[in-house]
């Protein structure tokens, strides 16, 4: 596992303490797990994601990510309706390790309460929480 200073947390993203990130593009939120989370898990071997159309509240489990010997639940950083799950992760779960903020994204969500965005952490705040 890498020391904190070697992990990356892009400034333009927003974070939650359960180690998911959010990027809002044209009103749709793209969601994945952070560099820290993928590093802790180790080699990701399977990602279970919800079907498009499912509506989930903030904090609800939307899926899970598995390494060889661990399973972690994934939690919604925002409430909303799932519009797409990353189809590439089905056959290439390693994208989560290789590119957690890029090709390894997990779901796209139509937020139902844009006000929730304000409650998310900045990169600096998230990094601070990890130190604590």
């Amino acid at each position: 596992m890498k020391p904190l200073q070697e992990l990356s947390f892009p400034e333009e993203l927003r974070y939650v303490e359960s180690h998911e990130w959010v990027r809002v593009e044209n009103g749709v939120a793209r969601i994945g797990i952070t560099d820290y989370a993928q590093d802790q898990l180790g080699d990701v071997v399977f990602v279970e994601l919800p079907a498009a159309g499912k509506t989930l509240a903030r904090g609800a489990a939307f899926g899970s990510v598995e390494s060889v010997k661990a399973v972690s639940e994934l939690y919604m950083p925002l409430s909303g309706r799932v519009v797409e799950a990353n189809p590439a992760l089905d056959s290439s779960p390693e994208l989560v390790n290789r590119s957690p903020y890029g090709e390894g994204w997990m779901i796209r969500v139509e937020p139902s309460d844009p006000a929730e965005l304000a409650g998310l952490l900045s990169a600096a705040e998230y990094r601070e929480r990890l130190k604590g």
Binding site: D43, V45, F46, E66, V68, K69, P93, E94
Partner: protein
């Protein structure tokens, strides 16, 4: 003393069954056809499944070679914590193979199977005496099925009293089977953190125990190898709120003849015959997980039960409160024969001595290892001791590396990364059947590995090098699972 137990020798490669086979061979002596063929309706006739065809020679060589790729109790020390890999006596195998046992049909009329029924009844009595509980079922096929039976009894008991409960307390040191078994009964497992001394504190239990909670599942000694000293007090707390106490007897080997499970407040307890009672583990099973209960819970035991009346043994289904059945027939009878044979061979004095020596061996390893490895709890243990890689991690060496390197020395590794409460755990259970010189060799190997971790950590990270295979890629196996082979006829 040279701790290198493993020698290099000639090891044979061996292909898969269907790579070895050739169509047209057979390994089977077909019984004579002494009746005419009855034509088969056309619509039912299909091509048989694609099985490989081998001669008897092929078959024997295939499996003998495969067997040589295993390390087993009969080849080396196998200190897998919580699994009690003790020696499996050979006489037990003989008894289980007697035609009257091995070739007995389960639905024989009672008059034709009195000996088998008597053995079941006798083993139930022996296990009741050994545990201090009142009634026993031998039906569960393994420990986890015993746990399920136990949870079903909790469920049935509470329902009978008109109070269905929804939660169960499970310590954070418990085996994964505990919460999984409880979940099958719809119980939510509520974790109880063990205290700083590695055992449960009564206050922690009191804070969680309420009238929605069916009871607690306890492993005693626990998976840190420590005796739950407050068990009687904890049982009192649970009973006061109307709950029941489940004992996971996986670690019974430490306390034979010493602890009265009934007296400490355990209401239901399962035993693993393939641990404490010496039946072989079979590369993963079969085992047997008898369940022992207090008199009050006897009506809930699975059916049928063997009863003795008018001088003969009989099956009885006449237990209206029974939880039902767990297996099609009566349990893993072949395993029961072996355990019965073991208990008769040992007698009370030797069983007690076995526990003493199991605990002595574990403490001997604990004292010998603490110079090199970080103990999870540096105090006397029962039948197993738990260390971690805390001292090796800064050197870039993990528990996995230590375990893999131990193979090169000719030892099966201990249980690793369990219990979960100890990061990088190495859980070591030598059992009573390992001699002092074997323990000394194990200590010397572990000391050598600790030295290598400092001087040549790369050697550990690339271990093992002396097994049939180097480290196997488990990530690739899980990402793109290949769970069956190609048919022999495929190119």
């Amino acid at each position: 003393m040279n701790p290198l137990q493993a020698a290099t020798g000639l090891v044979f490669e061996e292909p898969l069954l269907w790579e070895r086979g050739r169509n047209g061979r057979t390994g089977f002596s077909m019984p004579r056809r002494d009746v005419e063929e009855t034509p088969l309706p056309q619509e039912l006739s299909v091509e048989p499944p694609d099985l490989p065809e081998l001669s008897e020679v092929d078959l024997v060589r295939h499996y003998v070679r495969l067997s040589q790729w295993n390390v087993a109790v009969d080849t080396a020390m196998y200190p897998l914590g919580s699994c009690t890999m003790k020696y499996n006596p050979k006489t037990n195998e003989r008894q289980a193979a007697l035609p009257g046992f091995a070739l007995a049909h389960p639905l024989l009329p009672e008059s034709l199977c009195q000996g088998a029924l008597e053995l079941i009844a006798a083993l139930e009595c022996l296990l009741a005496e050994i545990t201090g509980l009142d009634a026993v079922t031998l039906q569960p096929g393994a420990g986890a099925q015993g746990e399920l039976a136990g949870m079903l009894i909790f469920h049935a008991y509470h329902r009978r009293r008109g109070r269905v409960r929804s939660k169960i307390l499970v310590p954070d040191t418990a085996h994964g089977t505990n919460p999984a078994s409880a979940a099958l009964c719809g119980y939510t497992a509520v974790p109880v953190a063990s205290g700083g001394r590695g055992i449960l504190e009564p206050q922690a239990v009191a804070a969680l125990m309420d009238e929605q909670t069916a009871g607690i599942m306890l492993t005693n000694p626990n998976t840190l190898g420590l005796f739950e000293e407050h068990v009687a007090e904890i049982a009192r707390i649970v009973h006061e709120k109307g709950g029941l106490v489940y004992g996971d007897g996986a670690n019974m080997n430490a306390v034979l003849g010493r602890v009265d499970m009934g007296r400490i407040g355990v209401d239901v307890l399962h035993l693993n015959l393939h641990k404490t009672f010496s039946t072989p583990h079979g590369g993963g099973g079969p085992g047997a997980g008898p369940l022992c209960v207090k008199r009050e819970l006897e009506p809930f035991l699975p059916v049928p039960r063997v009863v003795h009346r008018e001088g003969r043994f009989a099956w009885s289904e006449d237990f209206p409160l029974s939880i039902g059945k767990l297996q099609a027939f009566w349990g893993n009878f072949g395993v029961l024969v072996r355990a019965y044979s073991y208990i008769l061979s040992m007698g009370a004095a030797n069983l007690e001595q076995a526990s003493r020596l199991a605990v002595l061996n574990a403490n001997y390893l604990r004292v010998g290892l603490r110079e090199h490895y970080a103990p999870a709890h540096d105090r006397p243990c029962m039948h197993e001791c738990v260390f971690s890689d805390a001292r090796q991690r800064p050197l870039g060496v993990t528990t996995l590396d230590i375990a893999k390197r131990l193979m090169d020395y000719g030892f099966h590794p201990p249980t690793v990364y369990f219990p979960l409460v100890v990061p990088g755990a190495l859980m070591i259970e030598p059992t009573e059947t390992e001699s002092k010189e074997m323990l000394d060799l194990f200590l010397a190997a572990m000391a050598a590995i600790a030295r290598e971790a400092r001087e040549d950590p790369e050697r550990l990270r690339t271990a093992p090098t002396r097994c049939l295979r180097r480290r196997l890629d488990e990530v690739a196996a899980a990402r793109k699972p290949t769970l069956t082979g190609r048919p022999p006829s495929a190119p």
